[in-house]
Symmetry: D2
Subunit: 402 residues, 4 copies
């Protein structure tokens, strides 16, 4: 090992080149040990992993030194009444924040006692939007016109790059001399970013050749990937999912120790008015907590929490009962590819019955999205309830003191 | 074990109550095995963890069944010239997305070759904004006036709830009959959400008693926690950090195989114009990738990726050179509390020399934030370069075909 | 007159009912005089108008007391190279803010010297989006499905309500139990709000009858009318127009006394980075000034300045020259209806050659939109130039003092 | 006149130079007649104005050809219970859109019958935010630190430029190498843009001299002037005003022919959920209509409708009654300067008792702002009512058909 350390130290061997000389497990060990020695620290726990390292090194990580362990708990059973997910599920939640599992669990209890949450997928399309430079605004319009007139050709080009995906069309946007085409695809059980990027690169070549426009970047931020953006809130990206549940006054009292009207008021003053005044694109209580935790457990791209957690929570009184819903316009999820093949993540997916490709293709990812939306609903119910009840508690104390 | 299964099945024992009858490791095992049996699946890999389960069960997770493993790689060395972080660092990156480490690594190379990135923290304050209901708009103004006149009393109340934190003030916002106070705290080396929530609850009681306003929720979404919000982009939450680097034309060519002008153009058409037209609050290329990966490695709250990844990337030509900077208004990080005490996460923090509380208090969290900002800068450089060069490659091919 | 005053005073005659007893001019006079007497003020100047009062009272105003006079100046000649507007125009500018006409005029000079601005209309559709309440999220999806399947029926219904307009389709959006349909119409030379509202009311009845959804409001704010909204910035409302001009370094120096690079830098730091950090939906310098002034002169709905002034200004260096463009996604304009028939406003439209309906229908409104966009471009050039030069002036002074 | 035409035609006389050779009225006439001749049109109605042309030409307009007349109606009486405005007012409304006055009038009736609207001003500060370029992010922080340490000096500098205004402080924002200082002023009865711009120019010189930062533009768009921006929605610009009213169930039925619950539902599904999903910064029904119309009548800057119409409308059921409020964070108004001195506009201001400077200074502008906010509230009530009742009408018809 000293031999490698010396070369690493004098720069004749690059840290990332170790895999060229050693089998993965050895390379990872040398790299980790080198860092330990250099920094005078121990990375022993990071080194104590059990994952299939060949796959990880090939597909998921470079310069690997080991793995972090994130504890996983379950919330549930959660009763889901979707078009793809039907039945009771235990939601795997990977988090380091105490009380999150308990919070979601309480929401699951309410949902299941109420007979299950309705959930529907309203759109399903992964997007990529390259940006092109044109000579002037006249040229920009010509480029748009050309693309509009060559939709069929572009469809064929796009679908020639993928055996699974389907091209759903494109929307053009012109800003000055910059032209963006937001390509949309049905990517079946894959989250699909790679698929649409590859297709978009090929489409961009065709457009360049046909129009004289110059590709500046295969992603022009109107996709919009991993940034909060109104375009995703409005038009969706990945799956647009809505889940809702009617709770009776009795159930609200039993599970949340508060009133329906309180849940509605917390939603109104916090999630609607508070977010409005804050200039927020998120009108919810804790959607990100649930989305992040399920994404981590199930091998999703953690950076997709940014859009995935876009959520509008709505709450309407119906007499003494209340109907609460969550609208998630941009859930980007997959059950194949990315981190879904890692051992522990695969197990979490299997806990939901969605590991690997579905039959028909796309049905696993859709089922997964429906379950997540109901999980987010559970989280919202629970936090609205907790905020509401805490206040009531205080009010009761106040009365008690009187 | 069958004994527990039967009770779990018939509902006389709750899944989350196992720890009341069994030591943690046993409880986790029974719970996991129960799910395996019920669902007819294997969760063996999730069960093969090495973390200190007592701590995890007490502080980080409920209903635990095991852990997911997320591979960790390193990018670097990354040369940082901050006020708290100075020197070369290996950035721990936990991700399941192939090519991310390599991408950040290339950015680190550019930064280090250029002599290191400058980085500064401009603001540092964790916030919480309870929402109160008032009788009418006249009462709303009275409540604001009362709070404005009782700042010193509120400061004392706030600081009585914490031995570490410091109360920095509050900003009032009125929307109709709803009144929000955005409390600000210096939370030192803790990310601080718990600290400020506890203080805010106590402050809310004082305000209720003094004004007759009624607390609706201790978080009124003007905090804004875990939702993208302009208030954080503008005023910051946690640490507002800016990092920048001047790259010579030669260095750009050497590392990125492209030109300074290309980097600036990609930033202009993608990160600025593209995001503007998309109604985005994020003006960057891949800040979320880096923030998410470092947060995961280092035990940060994964849902904080939402605001943490808020980033405006700027790029200015200076002759043939280019100056590129990232502005991160809402990095919420801590080196104590939350997931920072878990074994593998603690090791990642120690790799950066920021595990545990700093001396003086707050210096570890600040150093950590500076390093992350430089890591984000590395990611931005790399992706701008890759997008720019991919185009050039195509242009070269096109010429070759001619 | 005293007779009316007495009844007005004791409430037996309502101020707005005067037209029922008196011819318009008399009613207006009695009303105005009554207010003068009551308040002890003079409204003589307001009373000294020349407009055709019959038309005004019938179509434009209720409870009329007279008119305000807003001074009108002209900027130009402005050379426009559009698809509908071609040639030189004098832009009528109604404003009370000194220096605005002069500012736009300077921009017109630059544009005309450079040979004229290119301008293109990219989309043209007025929208209205009713909101419906549904029973639950399952019902919400059924309603969307029903509408999707009845597009042809809806088209016929929509077009039965108008002799001019054309139904272009609709986009459904679901948020919890609320369903929005954003109907799109080609409204030809009319701005079209009334036309699309009438059509939307009829469409809403059909949808209610077909689906059991309950109409809550014929405008559900996803239109979005008279509020700044990303949906308009992204998808457009009314006409989406882009205008651009290439300026040589010499021309920039001659007209603006500054450099191309300075114009680009002001645009970059102010219009792009400044607006980004401010959480703005407007990325321009003074689009609202020009849009408001032309709208006022030409009888457009003044409240439409809100969306009409949505504008992204872009500026790109090309060697020593610069290309500057404005993108206006939501210009809602008409040359018939509303205030366009008032005498003075009609004259302003005729100054641009766009008074009344065009041949073919829609061509006047399109020509008008193209001219406005070039006027906005003139305003942007001028203010970027003024900001840039002011600084240079300071720099020169500084040098002079040295 | 032919003499001038010839020179205008051959370019030896510029259109805007006519005032150098002729008295204003003559110059205006020659200019107008020249355009009439050139374009073969009549501008006679534009030429038939009565305003004091000397003042207009000097302060309000260049290249004047006449004036447009905008009809003015009144809504009211409107009962206001503010801190500055108390009593009943007739609101002057200048508009070309039929039904607007009647709509606002109905809202005024409801408010007055309910005893008057409460209204409060929560903040009052006009802003201007210059942008500076710095060398690098380290320099950016130095510049911020310098300004933070020289507040007293800056205050003196700022106040030396104005006899009326008061410097209230500044907030620094850094984005990469760009530094913005958002200066805040109390501008008393003036809207104040000129005042703060002049002060900001002088402040910028001091900062340049003290720090080596380079002023790029005296407005860096974080002001934010005449663009919709979250910074104004959150922090306010000009006056932040909130107005509210409690309406009994009986009154709602009497005036609006609908139920309290319907008003609340329309507000919830349209103004809150609809605007949220549209990515809007405006959560109201028709604030822009009222703000635009009163601004026009009263000589305010029409482009300020963009921010002035920022409004969040809230509606809360209280048993069978309802409390409705409007929050206007950015009302920029003045009663001196700009268009307030024009004859007809001055009369409109006098109708509200706010023409010219108040005693104490600032009280007229504050009173004016309070009245506008109540006018906006009237417009909101009325449109919520109309939308709600239209539906009920339909429901009744439906029942009738059954």
């Amino acid at each position: 090992m000293d031999h490698y350390f010396e070369r690493l130290k004098n720069g004749t061997l690059k840290l990332h080149a170790l895999e060229q000389e050693l089998p993965p497990l050895e390379a990872v060990k040398v790299r980790r040990t080198y860092l330990e020695t250099e920094q005078g620290i121990s990375l022993a726990r990071i080194g104590s992993f059990t994952m299939d390292i060949d796959r990880a090194v090939k597909r998921n990580i470079e310069n690997m030194i080991g793995a972090v362990q994130i504890p996983v708990g379950v919330a549930g059973p959660l009763t889901v009444k979707g078009e793809f997910a039907q039945g009771s599920f235990y939601l795997p939640i990977a988090t380091t924040e105490g009380a999150l599992v308990a919070s979601v669990n309480r929401g699951c209890t309410a949902i299941s006692k109420a007979g299950g949450a309705d959930v529907r997928i309203l759109r399903d399309r992964m997007t990529r939007a390259p940006v092109f430079a044109t000579r002037d605004v006249g040229h920009a319009k010509e480029v748009v016109d050309w693309v509009t007139q060559h939709q069929e050709e572009l469809r064929k080009t796009a679908e020639s790059t993928t055996s699974h995906g389907r091209f759903l069309g494109c929307t053009p946007y012109v800003t000055g001399t910059s032209v963006y085409f937001r390509f949309e695809f049905d990517t079946k059980d894959a989250m699909g970013m790679n698929m649409v990027t590859i297709a978009s690169e090929r489409l961009s070549e065709v457009i360049e050749a046909g129009t004289g426009a110059r590709l500046v970047a295969v992603s022009g931020n109107m996709c919009t990937d991993k940034k909060p953006a109104a375009i995703n809130l409005i038009e969706g990206r990945g799956k647009t999912v809505v889940a809702g549940i009617a709770l009776s006054a009795d159930l609200v009292r039993e599970v949340f120790k508060t009133e329906s009207a309180t849940l509605a008021e917390v939603n109104y003053r916090k999630n609607l008015l508070g977010s409005a005044r804050a200039g927020s694109l998120g009108f919810n209580a804790q959607a990100a907590n649930v989305v992040a935790a399920v994404y981590l457990a199930c091998g999703q791209d953690a950076a997709h929490v940014v859009e995935g957690s876009s959520c509008i929570t709505s709450a309407e009184l119906r007499g003494d009962d209340v109907y609460i819903a969550v609208t998630l316009p941009a859930l980007q999820v997959g059950t194949v590819g990315g981190g879904t093949g890692l051992d522990t993540q695969k197990e979490c997916l299997s806990l939901l019955g969605v590991s690997g490709g579905g039959d028909p293709p796309g049905s696993h990812a859709k089922k997964f999205a429906e379950i997540i939306a109901c999980g987010v609903l559970a989280g919202e119910l629970s936090l609205l309830g907790a905020l509401g009840a805490r206040h009531l508690a205080r009010a009761h104390q106040a009365l008690g003191r009187g």
